[in-house]
């Protein structure tokens, strides 16, 4: 056998292999593809539409736009939150079903392993997010500009990477499936509700606003709103910077924990 760069940190073939596996697994389970799109669809259809029929408001942050327009980026953010966290946390399933051992004994740098895996999870998450954008547009949401759409893609990638890293940290530190779903819901739902996805942060009292400021998704949702709809609470550079720092920190920490993970 050829001598191979087992210690190479970025090893393209294994990265591609891990990515490919995630894609195959995602596309193979049709029910999961549909299921992952249903909840965001329900939010848009059963919360966004009815709320947009309510009389015009003078609520700060909602002036001049319909509630559905306001909600759509929030739901895209929610999709990224759930899909990203799940993608990171699904390492726990690989461990549970034994497949992790096969991966961990391969002569491949673990960073490459987790990079490929996360890229796969992120690809599927962003595809879901784009489908939601499409659904929102079909429901009558107007996008601000083409450039804004491409900027939104950048925000999506950063948001998704942040939560993939976050999910990875939970999975590697928690270590087993028992109580896993409960903990996930306990953390993920508050992150969603306090992100300003459903209501504008500007109209909240200051004590609540400070809580929302420490929620990573707040910046993701705000960035998406700024790029997709053209309305945002913070300047775009702030959203971008906060997300970039968070995503680097959490993804690095997550892959560090993964590299220390025991195969058994």
């Amino acid at each position: 056998m050829r001598a191979i760069g087992a210690r190479r940190i970025i090893d393209p073939l294994p990265i591609y292999t891990m990515w490919l596996r995630e894609m195959k697994r995602f596309l193979r389970v049709k029910a999961r593809v549909v299921g992952s799109l249903l909840m965001p669809l329900f939010f848009l259809a059963f919360l966004g539409l009815p709320m947009s029929f309510m009389p015009a408001r003078q609520i700060p942050g909602l002036e001049g736009i319909g509630y559905l327009d306001f909600l759509a980026p929030g739901i895209v953010g929610m999709t990224l939150l759930f899909a990203g966290t799940m993608s990171g946390a699904s390492v726990i399933w690989d461990k549970e079903f034994g497949f992790l051992k096969e991966v961990l004994v391969a002569p491949v740098n673990r960073f490459s392993v987790i990079l490929g895996r996360s890229l796969g999870g992120m690809t599927t998450a962003i595809i879901q997010a784009l489908v939601i954008v499409g659904i929102a547009v079909a429901m009558g949401v107007t996008l601000s500009s083409v450039a804004g759409f491409f900027l939104a893609l950048v925000i999506m990638i950063l948001t998704c990477a942040t939560f993939t890293g976050f999910g990875l940290i939970i999975a590697t530190k928690l270590g087993n499936l028992e109580g896993f779903m409960a903990i996930m819901n306990l953390i993920v739902f508050p992150i969603f509700f306090l992100s300003g996805a459903l209501f504008p942060i500007q109209s909240m009292p200051s004590w609540l606003r400070y809580i929302m400021y420490i929620d990573p998704l707040t910046y993701g949702v705000d960035g998406l709103r700024g790029t997709l709809i053209g309305v945002s609470a913070f300047p775009l550079w702030l959203d971008f910077t906060v997300l970039l720092i968070l995503c680097l920190a959490l993804a690095t920490l997550g892959s560090y924990f993964f590299s220390k993970m025991e195969a058994d």
């Binding site: 050829r2 697994r25 034994g98």
Partner: protein
Amino acid sequence: MNSVIEIENLTKEFDGLVAINHITLNVGEGEIFGFLGPNGAGKTTAVKMLCTILNPTSGSAKVCGYDIVRQRDKVRECIGIVFQDRAIDTFLTGKENLDFHARMYHLDRKTRQKRVAEVLDLMDLKGKENMRISDCSGGTQRRFEVARGFLNHPKVLFLDEPTLGLDVQARRNLWDYIKLLNEKEGITIILTTHYMEEADYLCHRVAIIDQGRIIAIDSPEKLKQAVGLNLISLQVAQDSSGSLVDSLKQLSWIKKIEARDGSLELSIDGGEERIPELIDFADNRGLVISSIKLYKPSLEDTFLHFTGKTIREVEGSLKEVWKAWMRSRGKR
């Protein structure tokens, strides 16, 4: 014979519990070497250390000439592993799993395609490669795992309880594939098992292991011989066993004669070749042997001999029951 595996004083402790207690042994190239012992004896721990999944507490081991702690990646490049528990992606097809493995081990496209076709052929998996693993039978899943294990041309293939949970037919089947693999590809195979027949059928050499210590290492044949002589039980037609006993005493290879329920039990030095000799011997004296049977000590007897208990006794202990229960809980 070149040593592929050299183990010296290898020890593993878990929180003060000694799982592997100073084992020292060598395995030669092309050998099928078995660790035989009850569950909890330390077989899997030993294999995990050799596969670089676990670090030893003390002692050292080399696989393919590489140190299992300091040259982990080198070791990983030259070994293949089939784990005790299933470690295959059930959402993917068999071929996709093999492709995955080939890419993770850096085989280029051409080598990969050729090699995947080869292993599918050797393991008789052609026609099943596009089935999803979750739709395959337990035996087929296991065969895919073995196929994957030697895909990257490892020098050593580790099989941790390869036939655990398979039915008798699937087990026999897998044994033959393992033998074929050893013969055709010349791979050194290390396997752990608690099935006597498995060690007996497959292994060139067996290490009997109990409570983390190696109790005996030798070929199954020699181990059985160490336990005792073969036994021949015979019956003569006429009631003249008394005179036969007297004349049988002349034969030097008969070590002991016992009369029991109208038949004679002879402890003999040698094997099947003694049967015609005995028949001729009786014939010359005008006696007719009505039945004759040769008993060889099994590895089961061997285990009993070396450890003072049968494998089943050990496994029936409460600790083992508890362990098995914990394992089954973990699997859900």
